[in-house]
């Protein structure tokens, strides 16, 4: 028997580093794998059980491998509006937006979260950004190259990042920090727990209500212990994080998003606000405008698969005899109870309901372009 765990093979030739909670995970029986240059917990009791727990209660994820960046200095908004296609100037204090870094050709270099801090609320920076772990050093290089000298970028690598996700996440966190109950989706703030400053945003990447918590590395284990002592909370590995985000229809960088694809085809046009589309002035704007006018050549779509055989990344997608696309992430969806996938298909085959076939080990299986998310989002929005 041979396995090829698609998380485990990444960067296996580099020595893996330990994150602040490494010992904490091992003490709780996590199976550790190499991912984005670090030893990371892929699962504790099993992906399926952890997935279901998060959908029903609250799961604690360690996402400390992700890059936390602070930006400050004169003209920081103007400078970031060259790097990001999103409306930064209109971003109010304590609000967060999903955005991405585009290259000159409009290809996606990374997707990210960007927030405006209140005055000096968190490390003295004006703008806080969370970028993907596997791309963080490339992102930093790209940004340094394109930022003016007046803008300072700080890699906040002394901070750990935890995500608490699930319908009981709000209730759980409020038992430790009651004021967090007032946050709504994509809102953030600075809070204090036992004297420890925590930057908390109501966001995450599972489709559930939840929080991302930036905590000083030295206090991370204490906070993780306090959260997991609550009856609603269990530690959850990266395996379930992946199946949760797939069900939520959220793209994964390096798989569903790459430099070869663009924002409009990726169905991420919502991240480019009206003013930015009209005014431009960001790297990659020409491709965005062209695709808005002419339509993209291909689109990111959700796929419902007949039967029980999962289609994985790389599986070719056919319409009759013609190859029209490729699966970019896929697996068994525990909440849906069936295999699902995300893939890119050429525009004429991308409409909801389009009947396609996916080839898995020489066999064609029937699939249909499906509305995403596969499982409804349950973000806590304004009443």
């Amino acid at each position: 028997m041979s396995g090829n765990d698609d998380i485990a093979h990444i960067e296996e030739e580099l020595p893996l580093q330990n994150l602040p909670l490494d010992g904490w995970h091992r003490a709780r029986g996590a199976r550790m794998v190499g991912f984005a240059g670090y030893h990371m917990p892929i699962q504790y009791e099993g992906i399926m059980a952890e997935h279901v727990w998060t959908r029903e209660h609250a799961g604690l994820f360690d996402v400390s491998h992700m890059g936390q960046l602070g930006f400050s200095g004169e003209g920081v908004d103007d400078a970031l509006e060259i790097l990001l296609p999103s409306d930064i100037k209109g971003l109010k204090p304590f609000r967060q937006r999903y955005s991405m870094l585009l290259d000159e050709e409009g290809g996606i270099l990374d997707d990210l979260m960007v927030s405006r801090l209140g005055d000096g609320a968190f490390g003295g920076a004006d703008i806080y950004m969370v970028v993907n772990g596997a791309t963080k050093y490339d992102d930093m290089g790209w940004m340094i190259e394109h930022l003016p000298d007046e803008v300072v970028m700080n890699h906040m690598d002394e901070q750990a990042l935890l995500a608490l996700q699930g319908p009981e996440a709000g209730e759980a966190l409020a038992t430790l920090i009651p004021e967090t109950a007032d946050l709504i989706f994509m809102q953030s703030g600075l809070f204090t727990w036992r004297g420890v400053p925590l930057w908390i945003s109501r966001s995450g990447y599972t489709g559930e209500d939840g929080f991302e918590i930036s905590v000083p590395a030295a206090d991370a284990a204490l906070l993780a212990d306090a959260l997991c002592a609550l009856p609603q909370v269990k530690p959850i590995g990266l395996g379930a994080r992946d199946s949760l985000r797939l069900e939520a229809g959220l793209p994964l960088y390096g798989h569903d998003l790459t430099p070869a694809v663009s924002t409009i085809g990726a169905d991420l046009g919502f991240a480019i606000q009206k003013r930015r589309r009209e005014e431009g002035g960001f790297i990659g704007h020409a491709r965005v405008m062209k695709e808005l006018a002419d339509g993209p050549g291909s689109k990111r779509v959700g796929l419902r698969i007949q039967g029980r055989l999962p289609a994985r990344e790389g599986a070719p997608i056919f319409a009759g005899g013609a190859r029209v696309g490729e699966v970019t992430s896929g697996g068994f969806a525990p909440t849906v109870g069936a295999p699902i996938a995300m893939g890119w298909v050429s525009l004429p085959h991308s409409a909801i309901g389009a009947a396609l076939e996916i080839e898995v080990r020489g066999k064609r299986i029937a699939a249909e372009v499906a509305q995403m998310p596969f499982v409804p989002h349950r973000y806590r929005r304004k009443a």
């Binding site: 028997m1 041979s2 396995g3 090829n4 765990d5 698609d6 998380i7 892929i42 699962q43 099993g46 992906i47 399926m48 059980a49 997935h51 395996g239 992946d242 199946s243 029980r308 055989l309 999962p310 994985r312 697996g331 068994f332 525990p334 295999p339 080990r361």
Partner: protein, 123 residues
């Protein structure tokens, strides 16, 4: 009946000329939640080492090799409805397929239970 083990984590029960093949409890534990098992068609002839079946866990697909040469005479249809049988009972009800053994000498290099346990402990 004798049970043999491979270093690819298959077990083989041999009774007369029929060998029943499955994956070990250690293997299912490593794979995690199993959601699909693709079994060979009856009548398929395998050489030792051929790809014989595929186990899909939530995360990934893993190949299962034919541990010895032979012809498939039966597959475990229970796995179609309940692939998780491999998780709950890998070394009994979660068997994969039965082969008609062509060359019994191929069994000679395989491990017995004690040797396999020692092998797993060394991993």
């Amino acid at each position: 009946m004798s049970r043999y083990f491979t270093d690819e984590h298959e077990w083989i029960d041999v009774e007369g000329e029929i060998a029943t093949v499955g994956i070990t409890d250690y293997a299912q534990e490593q794979l995690g939640d199993i959601v699909f098992v693709e079994l060979p068609a009856e009548g398929t002839a395998f050489e030792k080492g051929d790809d014989a079946a595929v186990v899909e866990s939530v995360k990934a697909a893993s190949d299962v090799y034919a541990p010895i040469s032979g012809e498939v005479v039966e597959t475990n249809s229970a796995l179609e409805d309940e692939p998780a049988l491999v998780n709950s009972d890998a070394e009994e009800d979660g068997w994969f397929f039965k082969l008609r053994v062509i060359d019994a000498s191929e069994l000679e290099g395989l491990m017995n239970e004690a040797a396999y346990k020692k092998f797993v402990a060394s991993l």
